[in-house]
């Protein structure tokens, strides 16, 4: 109802809907669609990228060339984002990232058409490092898969963590058995563990860790402890601290509305990804309400203002158009029979990102 013009806005959503990791894509899509569902003049084209970069590129081509979309969004994975985003934003398409935030797009590679609504990739890991300090850990064992996002994760953690490293390990991407790593952890004399192992890797690690009988405190980013995945990890996750910019129990109006609407629409609890999809939709709506899509500069400015009520509470863009936001520390708890998260503290307050200075945008 706030929208000034009646012109139709076409949004292309490229996301992962089939195969491994499709849960994330589905949540982003559902969250986004929930946000924009009442706006008839927003047309959303959703396509499945199968988690393959080349397919994502081709879908972007299709959406730009044939569907003539104004805005692209939806990509879950950094490597797919790296494949699609640079080319798209150079063709004057606005890209709103609901999940991936690779450092290359935050620093030198930042672009006026690229907006990240989720986080810069390092953020949650940085917060974990920050939390480790405040929890008094002195000697941490850290591990992540051997690929760029994994390296970013450990770099992010080390950026804030002040103690020693008892060990640093890169595991094989897709690895499921961690007996060897856990043995090393046990032998390392560490006082805590930080890990970034998304998807099935994290499930395997947590279960095996719990079975190993070691009870050092574990910290990780939210990805391995989010709503969709917690059920599969089971009680092994109880008590684990994880860092996230969002949580179901965040006490603000927008979030309450989101959580209840999401539950009633889809019949399940929303996840981190759903919240990000939702916020992306809300951001888009706010910009459309204050400008017209035909005026690209105006539209970009409207986006940059980020005049929307985020499910995370306060939300602002840094000059490189990545969020400035609080990153919370959550703890996995049980609500009745259901595993879920509860905020315990703030890990980093008003965290921007490490690449702002490298970006030429002002």
């Amino acid at each position: 109802d706030k929208q000034k013009k009646d012109d139709v806005v076409k949004v292309g959503m490229i996301t992962t809907l089939s195969g491994g990791g499709s849960g994330l894509g589905i949540d982003v899509r559902d969250g986004f669609l929930l946000a924009v569902k009442d706006y008839k003049n927003i047309q959303v084209v959703v396509k499945d990228d199968q988690r393959k970069p080349d397919i994502a590129v081709q879908l972007a081509d299709k959406m730009i060339q044939s569907d003539k979309v104004d805005v692209l969004t939806g990509i879950i994975w950094s490597n797919l984002a790296m494949a699609v985003v640079p080319a798209a934003v150079n063709q004057d398409i606005v890209y709103l990232s609901p999940n991936a935030g690779p450092s290359a797009l935050a620093g030198k590679g930042c672009h006026k058409n690229y907006f990240n609504v989720a986080w810069q990739n390092d953020n949650l890991h940085e917060a974990a490092g920050g939390y480790a300090n405040s929890a008094g850990y002195k000697n941490t064992f850290i591990l992540a898969p051997n690929y760029p996002a994994g390296k970013d994760a450990l770099t992010g953690y080390k950026r804030f963590f002040k103690g020693n490293l008892a060990g640093e390990l890169y595991t094989k991407l897709g690895q499921k058995d961690y007996a060897a790593e856990i043995a090393q952890i046990r032998a390392s004399g560490a006082d805590s563990i930080f890990f970034f192992l998304p998807g099935g890797m994290g499930i395997g690690f947590m279960k095996q860790y719990a079975q190993s009988g070691i009870d050092l405190p574990v910290v990780g980013p939210a990805f391995s402890f989010d709503q969709g995945i917690l059920k599969a990890v089971g009680d092994a996750a109880l008590g684990v601290k994880n860092t996230s910019q969002w949580s179901k129990d965040l006490d603000n109006e927008a979030n309450k509305k989101f959580v209840s609407e999401f539950k009633s629409t889809y019949g399940r609890l929303p996840s981190l990804y759903a919240s990000q999809g939702y916020d992306t939709g809300m951001l888009l709506l706010s910009a459309l309400g204050n400008s017209s899509i035909s005026d690209k500069d105006g539209f970009r400015n409207a986006l940059k203002v980020a005049d929307f009520s985020s499910t995370r509470g306060k939300f602002k863009f840094a000059s490189n158009q990545h969020p400035i936001q609080d990153i919370y520390v959550r703890e996995v708890i049980k609500e009745g029979d259901i595993l879920t998260n509860k905020i315990v503290s703030i890990g980093l307050k008003d965290r921007s990102n490490a690449y702002v200075d490298a970006c030429s945008l002002k």
């Binding site: 393959k52 970069p53 081709q58 081509d61 299709k62 494949a83 640079p86 080319a87 690779p102 051997n146």
Partner: protein
């Protein structure tokens, strides 16, 4: 029910007119899609040469597709960023597509020579697996090697330069790829009808016999393997230019599998089989993907029906005298 030559001609004609139709109806994406079909066809034709005619089932052809792709990406990215490639050599890469093709073919041939030299000691299923092993080594290497983006891949933003043509125009780029398709079809047709071709086909069935008429089957197979690797490598090079991007996923075993599926789907040991396979596969992927979230389920179902009822690939559905 028609003759194979006629069917082949029809396939080429259709491929030829699609971009014009796409232009007429202002559907540029159709041209991009057809370009993809043509590129995958080239990759498939490369594989089919050894798989169909030589009986060498390589499950590692993504290695060549990927190396061709990475050579292109690396040369171009250096040229774009004017970064020197080797610290001891004054060389900034290149964005001249003709030069890039040359280098891709040379490097892919060399790698194929190495991989082939070791792999061809084995046969049958062992060959399938050893080729897979080499491709997997490259895959894991590419994921964890940070210089060119690791798993994030490498973007080159604009296509490489072809003299007198603007390659960013989809139709121009399409016809460059289409020309390559024609070139390879012609070359392979000539080779398959030559003495070498006959010996290669003989190796597929009975190496003992080939040896006892005085020909070393290893040599024949190795040469074919190099040919095949070079062709698939060039396809990879084109694919990078199509997407203006390359990433480890082109080196993955799924990619090898996909190339193989195209070949089998179209019809093994038929020159135009991979083209039909690619057309069929991409059309299914595009249309089913639009219909249902669970489109891969239906894709699977259709492929199974195809295997059960079109014994020798899709080609055989159209042909009267289908080989048994």
């Amino acid at each position: 029910m028609i003759k194979e030559e006629k069917l082949n001609l029809i396939i080429l004609l259709v491929l030829f007119v699609i971009p014009f139709l796409a232009y007429l109806f202002n559907e540029p994406y159709l041209t991009t899609l057809t370009t993809k079909i043509v590129i995958l066809s080239i990759a498939g034709i490369g594989l089919n040469f050894i798989l169909g005619y030589g009986g060498l089932v390589s499950f590692g052809h993504a290695a060549f597709f990927g190396i061709g792709g990475y050579v292109t990406g690396i040369l171009a990215s250096h040229a774009q960023n004017s970064e020197q490639m080797f610290f001891f050599l004054q060389f900034d890469g290149s964005n001249q597509i003709l030069f890039i093709w040359l280098i891709s073919i040379i490097i892919c041939s060399f790698i194929a020579l190495l991989i082939g030299y070791f792999s061809l000691r084995t046969s049958g299923v062992y060959f399938i697996m050893i080729t897979l092993a080499f491709a997997q080594m490259l895959y894991y290497f590419s994921i964890s090697w940070p210089a060119y983006g690791g798993e994030d891949g490498l973007s080159i933003y604009v296509r490489n330069v072809f003299p007198f043509f603007n390659t960013m125009n989809p139709i121009n780029f399409y016809f460059i790829c289409f020309t390559w398709l024609l070139i390879f079809l012609t070359i392979l047709k000539i080779i398959l009808n030559s003495s070498f071709g006959l010996v290669l086909k003989a190796c597929k069935e009975n190496e003992e016999r080939v040896k006892s008429i005085g020909i070393n089957p290893f040599k024949i197979k190795l040469i074919s393997f190099v040919f095949s690797g070079a062709i698939t490598g060039l396809a990879g090079s084109l694919y990078t230019d199509l997407n203006r991007f390359v990433s480890p996923s082109v080196l993955s075993w799924q990619m090898s599998g996909e190339i193989m599926v195209l070949v089998i789907l179209g019809g093994v040991a038929r020159l135009y089989g991979p083209i039909l396979g690619a057309v069929f596969y991409i059309i299914l992927e595009q249309t089913l993907g639009g219909i249902s979230e669970n489109w891969q389920f239906w894709l699977g179902l259709i492929i199974i029906l195809e295997v059960l009822y079109a014994r020798a690939g899709i080609m055989s559905l159209f042909l009267k005298d289908s080989k048994s």
